[in-house]
């Protein structure tokens, strides 16, 4: 609140932030504060106490998660807006904020040892990680293209740093540069889209043509009067294209395998979960929010995108034996699943599967994907590798003998990703399929089922390697020593996967 501005112009009286507005983004402020705390600790703590840095970050994240879970004084799960309509909160948005917090927490667990082994700074990594997390948490709340663009770009620039973090590794730098060019291109397309929508609607006399609510109202009126200009449609296409780039949906998925393979494995896991969640959820918000009035025009586009993304991702994953590339391309197919859910919401607005609407199903799907990805990533990070970007399936051989707990983590992670019954991944896929049945999108449903069938093949070829006995040549593979923290994490994630799945199906 800036009192003197309110005196000058009555507009500021209406627009000035109220204390309740600041409360609504308290989790984001806390995460940003934590990220600064990481840097401060790195400056002032003696070397012997540096181990505190990632621990403070993790404790802080857990506290913020508890704060954000609460429906009440700090955050709301009811439909609400804050900062004069710049931000918006509701239950699915609260859920996806939790996805980001969880993803950052798990990334921090993976990153600490990984970075220490490679002699890279842990504090700086956590700083950037938390900034990106806070930015993504703001992104999903944005209800205005200025906050949207700023939050998205803050997240993207931070991710360039995290991908190219290992300065001594050619693979990491190469992935960083490739991500930079791909990300820069998508930002430029997105910005041009925003500009065209702003300009075209502004020329048509819409007052606040960057605000999602106003855009939605204007498009509703224009679509009834059939006066939507081609410029607006071009802008919307560019915006959706830019977001599809972040999500890694066909035909904007070309950068995914290289970047995921070259990035440090903790970053790969974060990219695959948080960044994908940001892309997926913003796509849902845009499609069901400001662009909902032209859903009829968008639905075929999304349906074709979903089918092709599912097929391209799964077929691509079949053709590679590098585990990180397989996971990257299977991530593309998961993006296809999310697109399929969005398509269903466009065809039948308010469609539900098992009493969950499309937004909620996307959040559940993302949560399942986080759990599956991190269980798999824990296995990869715990395995010694000469080069982080070379992790062939063969390297997993004999894992069951070397470390049963890692093998079970891999098994659970993979079955969660593939959608095998006891896991939450199965429940998530089931919900999307139910949604597709409700929307009567039979050919998208067909593509999804074919995708699942293909994915079981490549997922289980990874798992087979882990279960296969080591041959005489690699009999010397030593048993792996897994620290207590990792064991605990594996147990917690596995339990969450099963209990979460049951809760989603029967808990309400």
């Amino acid at each position: 609140m800036i009192p003197f501005l309110a005196d000058i112009d009555p507009v500021f009286k209406v627009l000035a932030p109220r204390p309740a507005d600041w409360l609504s983004i308290l989790p984001e402020i806390a995460v940003a504060g934590l990220s600064l705390l990481c840097l401060l600790q790195a400056m002032f703590l003696p070397k012997a106490l540096r181990f505190l840095i990632p621990n403070t970050a993790r404790i802080g994240l857990v506290l913020v998660a508890f704060m954000a879970l609460n429906d009440g004084p700090w955050t709301t799960v009811d439909e609400a807006t804050s900062f004069a309509g710049l931000l918006r909160q509701n239950l699915p948005i609260a859920g996806v904020r939790m996805v980001f917090l969880l993803s950052a927490l798990l990334t921090s667990f993976l990153a600490e040892r990984f970075l220490q082994e490679r002699d890279a700074a842990v504090a700086d990594y956590h700083h950037v990680l938390l900034v990106v997390t806070a930015a993504f948490m703001l992104l999903v709340q944005s209800n205005h293209f200025v906050t949207f663009f700023l939050a998205l770009e803050t997240g993207a620039v931070g991710l360039y740093v995290l991908v190219g973090y290992l300065r001594r590794s050619e693979a990491s730098l190469e992935a960083g540069v490739k991500y930079l060019v791909a990300g820069g291109l998508s930002s430029a397309l997105l910005l041009m889209g925003i500009v065209l929508v702003y300009g075209a609607l502004g020329s048509a006399g819409v007052a606040d043509s960057l605000n999602f609510t106003q855009i939605g109202k204007a498009l509703t009126a224009q679509s009834i009067a059939h006066t939507i200009s081609p410029l607006t449609l071009t802008g919307i296409a560019l915006i959706l294209g830019g977001v599809a780039f972040k999500l890694g949906a066909f035909p904007f998925h070309a950068w995914i395998p290289d970047v995921y393979q070259g990035a440090p494995t903790p970053t790969t896991a974060f990219l695959g979960t948080a960044s994908k969640a940001a892309g997926a959820f913003t796509l849902v918000l845009l499609a069901t929010g400001p662009f909902a009035p032209i859903a009829v025009k968008l639905a075929p586009l999304f349906a074709v995108g979903a089918v092709l993304t599912l097929l391209v991702g799964n077929l691509g994953a079949l053709a590679t034996t590098e585990v990180k590339r397989t996971l990257a391309l299977s991530g593309v197919s998961h993006a296809g699943f999310i697109l399929a859910a969005v398509t269903a919401a466009l065809v039948v607005p308010g469609a539900t599967g098992f009493d969950y609407n499309a937004e909620q199903i996307v959040v559940i799907y993302l949560l399942a994907y986080v759990i599956g990805t991190f269980l798999t990533a824990i296995t990869l990070v715990s395995l010694p590798a000469a080069e982080d970007h070379r992790r062939p399936q063969l390297a997993l051989r004999g894992l069951l003998r070397r470390s049963p707990i890692l093998a079970s983590a891999l098994g659970f992670g993979i079955s969660s990703l593939a959608g095998i019954p006891p896991s939450i991944g199965f429940v998530a896929k089931l919900l999307v399929l139910a949604l597709l049945v409700k929307a009567k999108l039979w050919w998208v449903l067909g593509a999804a089922l074919i995708g699942v069938a293909i994915s079981i093949h490549y997922y289980f070829s990874i798992l087979r390697e882990a279960v296969v006995r080591p041959t005489d040549a690699d009999e010397e593979l030593a048993p792996l020593d897994i620290p207590f923290g990792t064991r605990f994490l594996i147990g917690a994630l596995t339990a969450t996967s099963i209990i979460g799945g049951l809760f989603v199906l029967f808990g309400r």
Partner: protein, 102 residues
């Protein structure tokens, strides 16, 4: 301003944008590619200012400031990455980026 219309500005912005996009797609030198990316952002900024001026709304002009800030942050990180890659590889040609494959 009297002899120029919104259309003139938009055509110029569109040309710059397409020029940048073409450069990103066909050039092989990473620095040139990066400059082309910035050109695309500049084109969007130009369109933004034009719309803001001709539609008489301030929102676009405000967004321009944010875009410039974001572009500066992107350049800082981007150049650092490209320089680090050059130190490692001795080249910034995108054809030489072949570490990552099956």
């Amino acid at each position: 301003m009297e002899n120029t219309s919104l259309a003139h500005h938009l055509i110029l912005a569109g040309l710059l944008f397409v020029l940048g996009l073409t450069g990103v797609l066909i050039r092989r030198n990473l620095l040139v590619v990066y400059m082309c990316l910035e050109l695309m952002l500049a084109a969007a900024t130009l369109a933004l200012v034009a719309f803001s001026r001709f539609n008489r709304t301030m929102d676009g002009a405000v967004l321009v400031f944010f875009v410039i800030t974001v572009a500066a942050a992107e350049v800082a990180v981007g150049l650092a990455l490209i320089v680090a890659l050059f130190r490692k590889r001795g080249t910034v040609q995108s054809d030489a980026l072949t570490t990552l494959r099956d």
